[in-house]
Symmetry: C2
Subunit: 191 residues, 2 copies
């Protein structure tokens, strides 16, 4: 019961912050404003979030935890190439895209907030660096060497950024990422 | 003459900041400390750098300007594929690596400073996002479509991050990046 109450408090904080940021902009809203709107104390806010920026990236943090909990399907053949590594990451990456955009309106508002604010863009880009490390970690656990693991993790993330940079509808982020992956896996075949 | 004096002032600020950050850490040093050590006023500091973080990334800013000034060698055949785009970016990317590491000791100190500080990691990652946009811009100017341009720019950056994540000696960043590019361009050929 306590756990459920805590989860609801966290969700209230996230929702309150999103509303306040959308209405007044990130800089004009304080942690106290968010706590008040969410009907929690500042202490409760800081139990869940390290600072005001962190509440913006609650979803990203969930995605990073999701990646850490994944296990890759290991190819039956013994090949541990960059190609097989990238193929093994594909389902994880697409689940990440789906989770990121599971609330399309929330995703749109989030991206607008982040893209319009220098510090938030930095925090976002730093979170994606952590995502690359976690993807690489999955490959290491799956038996790939450090070199192919790092390369495939970075290429997977590059496909996500490619999709994102074309500003697709949230519903299309996943398919745009899959498309970028397909092109990447065909690089050697064309000039 | 005035221009040369200004350039020297800028260089003194960068050198003074690097020394102070190395000795005391980023947070313990103020803009006033840097200005004093560089024998300039605070106003002069802010003529060259938007804030204290920005002086850490003076070299990255030079690299971003370098990219903007590049022109790609256009392949003779009319093919504007992701593969030809990535190949066209290769020499630019390797020049970027060489410029970044042209002072090996400076590069080592820079990376140590950035990797050990959350906000600086964020600013660094955000600069790399700008680099991706600039690389993509070069391809657009060279006649590639937006899709292949975005993909190849992200893949080029992924190769740089792959090289960087293996923590090579500064002297080896360029060859490690070239190696990652080679593997990327061979993805479709192996399983």
């Amino acid at each position: 019961l306590i756990e459920r109450k805590q989860l609801r408090a966290r969700q209230r904080i996230i929702a309150a912050a999103a509303e306040l940021f959308a209405d007044h902009g990130f800089d004009a809203v304080s942690v106290s404003d968010i706590a008040e709107r969410a009907e929690v104390g500042r202490t409760t806010f800081f139990r869940y979030f390290g600072d005001k920026q962190e509440v913006v990236f609650a979803r990203e943090q969930e995605v990073l935890d999701l990646i850490a909990g994944e296990h890759l399907e290991i190819p039956r053949s013994g090949d541990r190439t960059p190609t097989s590594a990238l193929r093994a990451l594909e389902p994880v990456l697409l689940r990440v895209c789906d989770r990121m955009t599971s609330s399309p309106d929330g995703y749109r508002a989030h991206m607008q907030l982040v893209d319009g604010h220098g510090e938030l863009r930095g925090r976002d880009a730093a979170k994606m660096r952590v995502a690359a490390e976690r993807l690489s970690g999955l490959l290491l656990a799956g038996g790939w060497d450090a070199g192919p693991a790092a390369l495939a993790a970075e290429l997977a993330l590059a496909c996500y950024w490619t999709a994102r940079s074309t500003n697709p509808d949230p519903e299309d982020l996943s398919s745009a990422t899959r498309n970028a992956l397909r092109h990447t896996l065909e690089l050697g075949k064309s000039r």
